[in-house]
């Protein structure tokens, strides 16, 4: 494999990373996120239909039942592998309903759609209270922060603090860019999506550690060698491995993205993006960023 020049062109590589981080931040701040009901509180109704029902039919039926649905989000979720002719619609509203109201909504919706000639069935009705949503948000942030801190501590212990900083920088890059893609493509951020983010942290770190491990090994082996050259060599040595691993992982999560249903699509999307940005950051951000501070011990 042709060698790539990481160290000399590091400003180019870091520039690309910085560009994507900036782009993501722009999207995050201007477009925001499409949060799932777990994060904002509210209800999600999933309707499974056979036949040619469209969003309009469902929306109309919903508004006839209650005005609460005037601002509802209705999206079509069709995943490969569903029986032919089956389409699912997801309805989300930032409101929870009482016990009787829920029953009424389910019954009336099914009745109204049947009257209109569609074979439809409410297949799930999930709700999260406002305080619970708040709690989930808080715990999620905490989980991400604790993961990062735990990892920084571990790398400091096993490698050294400078590497720890590089790894965290790479991870922050990964999380931001992945979140940016979520914002860009309007993918829903639900609890599985957060699981994807945390897995991505683990995955990207896995890659970064393989690079660091090689740098550490070569630093012991070739003490006194010019550090930029040594780092270039190290990165190139693990390049085939990193690309192959990323490719195989990408195959798995991408197939999942193509086939998966509504609930895990955000998860698969997060990991598909994450594997790419995680690989990039491990090779071109984690070490080059802290190059200046790496010293022989």
């Amino acid at each position: 494999m042709k060698k790539i020049n990481v160290v000399n062109k590091r400003y180019l590589w870091l520039g690309v990373a910085a560009f994507f981080v900036a782009l993501s931040l722009v999207f995050i701040f201007t477009r925001g996120f499409n949060f799932g009901v777990e994060f904002i509180g509210g209800s999600e109704i999933l309707v499974r239909t056979e036949g040619n029902m469209i969003e309009q039919d469902l929306r109309q039926a919903l508004i006839e039942i209650s005005n609460d649905f005037a601002g509802a989000r209705v999206t079509r979720v069709r995943s490969a592998g569903d029986p032919a002719g089956v389409v699912k619609f997801s309805v989300t509203v930032p409101k929870t309903f009482g016990v009787d109201e829920k029953q009424k909504i389910v019954n009336e919706l099914e009745k109204k759609l049947t009257v209109k000639g569609f074979k439809a069935e409410v297949v799930s009705f999930n709700e999260t209270g406002g305080t619970a949503a708040e709690e989930i948000r808080r715990l999620t942030w905490r989980a991400i922060l604790i993961t990062l801190v735990a990892i920084l501590a571990y790398i400091t212990l096993r490698f050294n603090f400078v590497f720890g900083v590089g790894a965290i920088a790479a991870l922050v890059h990964d999380v931001l860019v992945t979140l940016g893609f979520f914002s860009m493509f309007r993918y829903e951020i639900n609890v599985p999506a957060v699981a994807a983010l945390l897995t991505l942290i683990g995955y990207s770190l896995n890659n970064t550690i393989v690079v660091y491990d090689r740098v550490r090994e070569n630093m012991k082996k070739f003490k006194g060698k010019d550090i930029p050259t040594l780092i270039d060599e190290s990165i190139n040595q693990v390049l085939t491995r990193t690309l192959n691993t990323s490719l195989t992982t990408f195959i798995v999560v991408f197939v999942l993205l193509l086939f998966a249903g509504n609930t895990i699509k955000p998860f698969a999307f997060g990991l598909s993006v994450g594997v790419i940005v995680g690989t990039y950051s491990s090779l071109f951000v984690a070490v080059p960023l802290v190059l200046r501070w790496i010293k022989y011990r």
């Binding site: 490969a80 209270g129 619970a132 993961t147 599985p192 683990g202 040594l230 491995r241």
Partner: protein
């Protein structure tokens, strides 16, 4: 040679254990064909369909033993569920951020409504006296509200919300003659036997302490059967109030001296069961706040399983092909390791009775990544050692030894992320963390033991790269 034999024994033993765990007879064997292999793996509600309710237990501040209160709530809820026929439901206590939670999962339930009604009845229970009733909402009529004030009573709705009853806690205004939070020893639905009645009635028995009070109440309220329905008798009905809702209102036709009473009303079995459950469980000792509720139809679950399984199988096959093309014999080793680790993972899930959720399936797919990664790291390392001029045997040994710490560090960090996820995650995410942690540990074992065994066995097939470069020194 000796190390190889040890590895072989360990690999076979672990495999046999995993398969035994999977095939161990279980009471609920309802899968057919290939799926039989996985019948011991418990599926989460998001896959098999069912209802899930999560409540936060708000214990009053200053309570001496809060965990006892939570235990009591748990028992009460369990009783309510059992007596309403939800015996398959599971109830879990969980604790986070200084709050106690109770998670109720009811497999195969198609909605949460009836369970919510049952569990949501949370207020105080008491026996009261019905003074009047109204078919219109009393809050819209000032005269009715005045009446309540004069009579020192309260308008409370019936269970179906169509009738309102004027209820007073103190019976016949006799000071302290009231029965609040009675202890009911048993309550059960019994088929009606008397002529002219049908369906079910509910019998119940009060604790001896409360039986005495109940006797005095029935003495005050008793009306002869012939007078039932007349104007004076209408002010002497007994109401069972729970959560400010009149669960039942009826006449006392004889004094009940021993606390053993029955409620008749031509109930259906379901109604009788619910009333009995309410009586038996009484009032909850703490407030419950519903945090989330939801249900998934089994239909949706089976759609999801089909697509996820298909995604898994296709992904797996593509990766396996890729590995064989790129790494030859070592790719075959990786593929065997992959299948082995998947079986191992399912075996551990079956043995520990962990619940496989949808994100859990995603976790399994992700494990494919880690397992392959380990093999790639090792294979690349061996290639490097061969390029450096080592013999195949020496290269294998060095390859595995040097990969050990790389893989150890890499996998341990993934496990750290998994543990945080498990600790902070709710419901389904915990399932993801579980499969991730099991899978990563499994892949480390498989990489270090099984892959080594197979690589040693196939060492004669490993090709030596032509160009022997010399790494960093070049």
């Amino acid at each position: 040679m000796k190390a190889e034999r040890v590895r072989l024994v360990v690999v076979l033993a672990v495999f046999v254990l995993a398969v035994v765990a999977l095939l161990w007879p279980s009471p609920d064997q309802n899968y057919k064909g290939l799926a039989k292999l996985f019948q011991r793996v418990r599926l989460g509600l998001d896959i098999r369909g069912g209802a899930r309710l999560e409540y936060r237990v708000d214990v009053e501040p200053g309570v001496e033993n809060p965990s006892q209160v939570v235990d009591d709530v748990w028992t009460v809820l369990r009783n309510r569920l059992d007596s309403a026929g939800y015996t398959e439901a599971t109830l879990r206590k969980s604790f986070r951020e200084n709050h106690s939670f109770i998670v109720v999962e009811i497999p195969a339930a198609t909605d949460t409504t009836s369970a919510e009604k049952l569990l949501g009845s949370i207020g105080v229970m008491y026996f009261g006296q019905v003074l009047d009733e109204s078919a219109i909402d009393p809050s819209t009529d000032p005269r009715l509200m005045d009446l309540a004030r004069i009579k020192r009573a309260q308008w409370l709705p019936s269970r179906d919300g169509k009738v309102w009853y004027l209820v007073r806690q103190e019976i016949m205004l006799v000071k302290d003659l009231k029965l609040v939070s009675p202890r009911i020893v048993t309550a059960s639905p019994v088929p009606e036997t008397r002529v002219g009645r049908f369906g079910y009635k509910v019998t119940f028995e009060l604790s001896s302490k409360d039986a005495e009070v109940f006797k005095r109440i029935t003495q005050q309220l008793v009306v002869p059967e012939s007078a039932v329905g007349t104007a004076p008798s209408r002010e002497k009905r007994l109401a069972i109030v729970l959560d400010d809702v009149v669960q039942f209102a009826g006449y006392v036709i004889s004094v009940i001296p021993d606390g053993k009473a029955e409620i008749t009303g031509n109930f259906s079995l379901e109604e009788a069961q619910q009333l009995a459950a309410i009586l038996r469980s009484g009032a909850l000792p703490a407030r419950l706040e519903k945090v989330s509720a939801g249900w998934v139809a089994p239909l949706l679950g089976s759609d999801i399983v089909r697509t996820s399984l298909m995604a898994g199988v296709i992904g797996l096959i593509l990766v396996m092909i890729y590995m064989v093309i790129f790494y030859g014999v070592q790719g075959v080793v990786a593929d065997i390791a992959l299948v082995y680790n998947t079986i191992l993972l399912f075996g551990v899930l079956a043995a520990t009775r962990s619940i496989l959720t949808l994100p859990g399936i995603a976790g399994i797919l992700f494990t494919i990544g880690t397992t392959v990664d380990g093999n790639i790291i090792i294979a690349e390392r061996i290639k490097e050692e061969l390029k450096a001029g080592k013999s195949v045997k020496a290269a294998i040994m060095a390859g595995f030894d040097r990969s050990f710490f790389t893989l150890f560090d890499a996998n341990l960090t993934t496990i750290i992320a998994g543990l945080v996820l498990y600790y902070f995650g709710t419901g389904t995410v915990k399932g993801f963390a579980t499969t991730l942690i099991i899978g990563v540990i499994g892949s480390f074992f498989v990489n270090m033991v099984l892959s080594r065994l197979l690589t040693d066995a196939f060492h004669s097939l490993i090709r030596i790269p032509k160009a022997a470069e010399r790494g960093v020194e070049s």
